[in-house]
Symmetry: C2
Subunit: 479 residues, 2 copies
Amino acid sequence: MSEDLGITAKKSDLSEWYKQVVVRGKFADYSPVKGMVVYRPNGYGIWDQIMHNFDKVLQARGAKNTSFPLLLPESLLKKESEHFAGFTPEVLWVTQGGASDLEEKMALRPTSETIIHHMMGKWLQSYRDLPLRLNQWNKVYRYETKMTKPFIRGREIIWTETHTAFASKEEVADETDWAIHAYGDFIENFLALPLIRGRKTDSDKFAGAEYTLGVEALMPDGKALQSGTSHLLSQKFSVAFDVKFLDEKEKWQLAWLNSYGISMRLIGGLLMIHGDEKGAIIPPKVAPIQAVIVPIIFKGKEQAVNTVAKQLHKDLLEGELRVELDDREGYTPGWKFNDWEMQGVPLRIEIGPKDVEAKSVVIVRRDTGEKVKVKLTNVKEEINKELDSLQTRLFEKAKKDLESRTVDASSLDAVKKAVADKKWAIVPHCGDAKCEESITEATETGPRVIPFNKKMKSGSKCVGCGKEAEYLVLFGKAY
Amino acid sequence: MSEDLGITAKKSDLSEWYKQVVVRGKFADYSPVKGMVVYRPNGYGIWDQIMHNFDKVLQARGAKNTSFPLLLPESLLKKESEHFAGFTPEVLWVTQGGASDLEEKMALRPTSETIIHHMMGKWLQSYRDLPLRLNQWNKVYRYETKMTKPFIRGREIIWTETHTAFASKEEVADETDWAIHAYGDFIENFLALPLIRGRKTDSDKFAGAEYTLGVEALMPDGKALQSGTSHLLSQKFSVAFDVKFLDEKEKWQLAWLNSYGISMRLIGGLLMIHGDEKGAIIPPKVAPIQAVIVPIIFKGKEQAVNTVAKQLHKDLLEGELRVELDDREGYTPGWKFNDWEMQGVPLRIEIGPKDVEAKSVVIVRRDTGEKVKVKLTNVKEEINKELDSLQTRLFEKAKKDLESRTVDASSLDAVKKAVADKKWAIVPHCGDAKCEESITEATETGPRVIPFNKKMKSGSKCVGCGKEAEYLVLFGKAY
């Protein structure tokens, strides 16, 4: 492989390293459309795995898939004023159809609350229709003016958005909570990304929400990646869109609404967290290709090796493994090894003439580089074992890293030091919005979440103003 | 069920019947966005099944899933002039971002050839990179000014578009052919929609194609539904987007390009073909709900019946069947029966107190209304048997109907008579474009396809001009 096709940046130079991994690993590529990228099979294939697996979680919860229109007439988007104010600066507008101007301009949806609530208001009749859980695996658009980054931030966002309606506040609160833990568990188990779960402070909640819950991952450069959110919406939405139902006593009641989402930025997170100097390392549970078979060809032995390689490929595919056979001519095995390593394929299976004679293959792990010689008779079991072990190791490694870079701080200087060390800090806070803003400014960070399950010592003083603290807040820089 | 919630239109009044089935069967609903509808779980769920099953066919062929940007800068769309001329009258344009005007207006993609070819040109280096097959399950937008109809015609089209590149014309022709038969087989096997397959005449080919192949279904009102197309693109695209590769002799060659697609209009087709006076009938292979369990409750017997119904629901879900349990309170069994029939669920499973005693259930078929009493011990086998039988019957019935409504015609009057009888007609044609247009005008139809595998009698005369005929053309009205 020529130098310019491999990863030449050090991972410590995260921004350049990430760009190289994304483009040279064929996860995504820049397009002629400003702020929008192309997701190539290596990147989109991970999203396919996420959809396939998380859709089961949603279905089991009772959510149903739907499709609502992309375009939102301006008058519809305006119906809930806080929501409109929050989103309007970043809306892309369609104003022409064919050669003529439209009567009313239409937004490319920045999110779908308005149209879904409008339709819920039309459909909902009785308490018997509740709960209602509608999901979309779709795309939303935001006229991002900050620097964009493939997967992480762009004008086209590939995500899933689920919108639910309930008869009571207790139930909608339970759903809001369920969703953030469903996301947390899925992201940790499938993407091997450890998280901190918690509640957003008011400054950072969704436009129009009563409160927002979130899961946050910590990237190698010390920046937080918001990785999923769940919003308990204020009843202003039910009022604005007339989302009402007849209760058991035949009285009209306002419905309680919630929405939650995760996006393809998760893939950016896993690339940054798990990758190394050679390129990406994809967790096996979401890897589009879990193993690649590379035949090692010597002149005169081609046929024997290729026959075994092809048969193995067939057997493994039938065994529900996602496996590629790289029998391309004109590339050396070494070139192929580097290429697949850069793309992050978890396991490589080498078959050479000696392996054919010994009825065995060599399995090479992408994370540790360890090689294991395995008999063909139990190769499937060994592959599954190695995939499980690799998945677990990626998570454990990332979890240790997260723990070591999450620190308690009781002063602004301690927060600044944590950030300088590429960490984030948990601090006691009084709960006042202006005080929070002063901490944000002084430390050049922001409030990520009020972590669940972190107990504050009684008598703790606010890191901003010194008054008695109300709760702990995780502060850090963010993507 | 109150009268106004059931299907009140006769199927012979197809347009009104279709509207009622779509809306009252909860397949789709009208939205506040002109020309765009909401696809509800009953409708989108069928698309989920189509995606799940056809994606396997694409993957096995070597196609990979991707995502290309929705927005196309005007300059990019303009690069291939025939293509641009074909699509520009129906493009929706984004002209504003936030409060400011964009430097260049951007089209909501009417189709993705331009951006995919642009990227292929960037990626493609060597003959070793070929063939290249990139797929998107996505949405495209056309500023439709004709009357819209849910699923069938609208400004937002949910579809799959596959774009391929090859080293030779033989290979690209083979792919173009493979795709139309892959669609044909899938649509007949899974959607139970019989088709006529063939080649489009030049007047009806894709903007920028050398030729287009298509599959056509015949709706109950005599209109054809174009159900899938596959295009061998002219090399103007490779030139315009510089899609070239180094061949084995290290010489640059233009790639041969193709694209093919099917859309959610297939669902409109199956609703129209299979439905009856009670509502929809969904073919089991693509039904989001294959069977619904309805407990028949009598006072004092609730617990025994509900316990058996819940256990059966659990067992069937574990048996990989898509089953719902309708244990809603406040609705009578009769109301539920009508409701599920309207929604087209293939089988209903009734469990009453006597069934519990006899350790049996009653299975009711949606298509024939036949009832079978089945022991609980082999209920899963029986359900699978009935689902298979229902799937086959729907197809056989539709196939007979297609055959009986496809007629040979040797005069314009015979074509007119066929059309008046809600049929389409196969006619000998000279191959001249102006003559074709005259037939179209005289019969108020259009050329659907030149059917494969239909032999023309030697010496046949063109139905338009009386000259010697070159081939047979299927003429009919169309959606």
